[in-house]
Structure formats: structure tokens, C-alpha cells
Assembly symmetry: C2
Homo-oligomer: 304 residues x 2
């Protein structure tokens, strides 16, 4: 395992509490410390780890938000990254103005804030409280490799993970709040939830590591399914899926160089070089024409 | 289950023999008859079902090829579709000229040939014998719904399945020859091969059915892994994975309308309408600029 790519990654699965900024700060800090004790150099916390998920009103969502330069959880976790000399990816309710918030993921490191991503694809009632993300899938250079971030529902949009891979991402950190609702069978006989299959799909399509930290518990009728996981570039489940209903810290040693080696799967293939942008563009043009020619038919692609 | 979307789909898993055009014709016909007896309206046969996979020379690949309008397997299976009043998707070694062939999938029906797809992403030594496909992911209207085709390695390119979904595909038929080689663990503890995860990934990202017919057996040191499967739009495994090493016919009743309903996952979401083409385009532009600015560094995207 080369020094450059070697990394101990941890994902923390627990239950943030809706609206409890102070409690969520302390909870997240405790999990980061626990991960540090286990040797983690990168710790992933769940989506909206600062605020909880299920807001009941705009004032509640606003009161639970954190400005990036505020003195709440982001500042506290940043200080912790300095103290413990590690990196943290955390889902945050990001305050921009009184009325403008994003469902974001921050990447914090020993020397301050390294990166920011804002969830591009909003699920269910998130659009009541958050703006759709405006950052085109940034990738960040860290000492051990290149890291991108996605949040939950983003995993179902293969374009998002592909955008990260094409910019050289070796690992995608995924703060998530996978819900049990809206699905017939939240967790199957293997103990996998649909998010695990989505994570494996994204990993194997892009030959990247995926580290997904889900939450557990229930908030106002919305149940979360745990099943946090770390997946290898060949689609292997390296850690997890964690239990559906128990706090869990997954810790696993990886070599991020594997994400690069896996792309040269045979002497004749490079999985990103084998792409056919010419055909993808032709197909996209054809889909657009079909939509334009059939405006009154049920559209293949619904309007937002 | 509405009449419109109701469909009994079958995938046939067996071992074609390299170079044996006559034998492969008869083998495929027998599997189509067996599927018809089981009530199938759509039967999927493996990749290169007419020719076998592992050619050792250009003349051998040429001799094993079928012209679309020839009197070999394609004509025979077309006649069978008429006789049995069903549809067949079959992988064929398609002859265009003496020197030009495609690794294709044909869609045959009761009234003749309905569709053609040519594998866009060639794996391992296929590029010695086949041209890269030149058809931008066509989708075909059948009485029970809209069907697209992909072949094997195409499943690892999320752009391909996405192109089919954006053109309204309800089901993706996948003739495949998944290989055991090039992977540390061809089949995992669940009895799944990497292709199963790829199929589930594609199904759940696009809310489409995926019906993948793999082959079994060994040809000149290349081992195939079976594990044929039918996956639902929510990622559930409806049939299979089949055994790694046994002939199998999977037959399953589906409602293709589910592929459309699944896209409206919540009252606030349509999974194709939720796409963010603005961000995807911005990310693609940034990846291209990064490549252009660092011509001497290891490219994020290798040249073909």
C-alpha cells in the first residue's frame, strides 16, 4: 500500500436530533473523537448532522441553520480537525441568508475548511427549506487522494458521481439520511437498503470508493434505515451495511490508488477513456427532439 | 396490472460454442421454444449467441459472423418469433463487410426485425474483432412498453442506460458475457457477480427493468459467470441471480408501467425531472479544462 493513497476512513452512524444545534454539535464531536481513537484520518458524518432532518416550519429550519463562518458546529468541528489532525465531512444545514439555505456537506481539515458541496438533487419536502445546490460537483486534493462529496438522493443521479470521477475523484464521501418511507421493502434479506445498491452502482461504474454515513432513528413519522457502508472501486462492500437501528462506527483501511488502478481493468481498457461522448450527445439530442415533438403527450422527462 | 404494461419476460442462460454457427442457431431456437412454453412474450439470449465469444483470429471472427439479412440464426429466430408470436433480443456477431463487424443486439418480433443496437463500449480483445457501436442508444415501442438494449460492459457506463431512460425506456434487455477473469472475486457470498450490482445500479438510477441474459461455460481460458437476472425499477432482484455454472431459464411476470410510476417517487419528485443538466454541463466543462491545463500529468480521462 503506497503512502500516498493509504487512508483510514470512518463513517459514523447515529441519530442527530431535529432542531437541537447544541446537542448535535456535541454528538458529532463525540463521534469524531471516537473515530480518531480508531485511527481515522477522514471521518464522514450524516446528512444535516448539525440540524436534524424533518423540519415542520420555515422558522424552525432557519433557526437550525449554521453560517459557514459562524461559531457553531462547523467552527467546533474545524477546531477538532486541527486538534486531532484529521479531516471531517459533515452534512450541514447551511445558512446563506435568513431565507436562503442549502443542504450542504462541508469538508474540514487540520488547517481549516477545505471544501463545500451543496446537494444538487432535493428529495421530498427538502425543497420547502433548501435551495437546490449551485456547485458543480467540486473535487478536493487531500494528502491521501482526491475527494468529492454527494448527499443522499444525489446517488440516484449517475451524472453526479460521474462528474466527480471525471474530475479525478478517488473517494466519494456521502453524508446521507436514507429513509424507509416511499419503499416497499426498506431493507432486504441481505440486510441491504436501496442506498447500498446505489452506492455499489456508483462505485463500480466509476471505480471509486464510496463512504456513506447514514443516520438512524425516527423523526416526526420519517424513519431512517442506517445501513451505512464503505464500498471499494470494484463494487465490493468493504464495511457494512451497518445495522438498520444501531449506532455504529465503521472504520476501514483503504488504498485510494486502487481507484486509479481499477480503471485500467484490462490491457485494452480504461473505464473513463472508453466512454463514448459522441453517442451520449447524439442520444441526448434525440431525447430532446422527442420531447419537443410531443408536447402534449406524457413527457419522458417531466418539468421540475 | 394493466394490459398495456403486462409482460412475461424470460432470460436464457446457456453456453454458446465459439465458431459453431449452426449449433448456436439450434441452441438459441431451443431456448426460445422453451421460453415460449413458459409463457414468455420477450426472450433475452446472451451476447454473441450466434458465434461464441473468444475468437482466436480475424478469419475465425469473420467466418462466425451473420449478415442482418442473411439466412442464418437471425432469419431462423425471426421466423420463430412469427411462429410463436413473441419477441427475442439476441446478441449477434453482425457482419457488415468482410472486415467490418459489430457486437450487436437484435430485437426480433412477430412481424420481422424491430430493432438493432451495436455495443458502444468494447471490452478486452473485442476491439480486435469489432467496430465500436455507432447507434446512439435507440429505444423501441413494443405492444407492452418501450425497450432498449445494452450489451455487457455497456452497463458500467451510466450514460448509456441514462440515454435509454431519457428516451422513455421501461425495460433494458442486456445480452451479456460477464467474465470471471479480471476480478478478485467473480461471485460473492450472496451469489452475486459484479454485473448484478451494475444491473441493480442501472435499474435503481433510472427506475427501469433490467433483464440480463448471461452465458456460462469456458472458452479458451475465459470463464463466464452466469448470474443472469431480472431487476425491478426499485432495484429489487425479481429473478436470479442464476447459478454460476448451470443452464437456467428465468421467467418472470412484470408490469412495465411500474417503470413510469417509480419515477414519481414522492409528490415532490420526478427522478428524471429532478436532473440538473446545468450543473452536469458545468462540471463537464471544468473536467475538460483541467485536462487541457495538465497535458503532461496523468490524465483524469485517458485517451482511447
Amino acid at each position: 500500500m503506497s503512502q500516498q493513497g493509504a487512508l483510514t476512513v470512518a463513517v459514523a452512524q447515529y441519530a442527530p436530533a431535529v432542531g437541537d444545534r447544541r446537542g448535535n454539535l456535541e454528538l458529532g464531536s463525540a463521534w469524531v473523537r471516537r473515530a480518531a481513537e480508531a485511527g481515522a484520518q477522514l471521518v464522514v458524518l450524516p446528512e444535516l448532522a448539525t440540524s436534524g432532518y424533518t423540519f415542520s416550519s420555515e422558522p424552525e429550519a432557519a433557526a437550525a441553520a449554521e453560517a459557514l463562518d459562524g461559531d457553531g458546529a462547523i467552527a467546533a468541528w474545524q477546531a477538532l480537525c486541527h486538534e486531532l489532525q484529521l479531516y471531517v465531512v459533515a452534512g450541514v444545514n447551511e445558512r446563506v441568508t435568513d431565507r436562503e439555505r442549502f443542504n450542504s456537506a462541508v469538508l474540514l481539515g487540520p488547517d481549516g475548511r477545505v471544501g463545500l458541496y451543496r446537494k444538487a438533487h432535493l428529495f421530498f419536502e427538502e425543497s420547502f427549506y433548501f435551495q437546490p445546490g449551485d456547485l458543480p460537483f467540486p473535487v478536493f486534493d487531500l494528502p491521501f487522494g482526491r475527494v468529492g462529496m454527494l448527499v443522499c438522493y444525489d446517488l440516484w443521479f449517475p451524472e453526479a458521481a460521474r462528474a466527480l470521477a471525471l474530475q479525478g475523484a478517488d473517494l466519494i464521501a456521502v453524508p446521507t439520511n436514507w429513509v424507509a418511507n416511499f419503499r416497499r421493502r426498506p431493507v432486504d434479506d441481505h440486510g441491504w437498503t436501496m442506498g447500498n445498491y446505489a452506492a455499489v452502482g456508483v462505485a463500480t461504474q466509476n471505480q471509486v470508493f464510496v463512504a456513506a454515513a447514514d443516520r438512524i432513528g425516527e423523526e416526526r413519522g420519517v424513519e431512517f434505515v442506517g445501513c451505512s457502508c464503505v464500498v471499494a472501486p470494484d463494487g465490493s462492500m468493504l464495511a457494512g451495511p451497518a445495522a438498520r437501528d444501531r449506532e455504529t462506527l465503521l472504520v476501514v483501511r483503504v488504498d485510494l490508488e486502487e481507484a486509479r488502478r481499477a480503471k485500467a481493468r484490462t490491457p485494452h481498457n480504461h473505464t473513463l477513456g472508453d466512454r463514448r461522448p459522441d453517442l451520449y450527445a447524439a442520444a441526448a439530442a434525440r431525447a430532446a427532439v422527442a420531447d419537443a415533438l410531443a408536447p402534449s403527450a406524457p413527457p419522458a422527462v417531466a418539468a421540475r
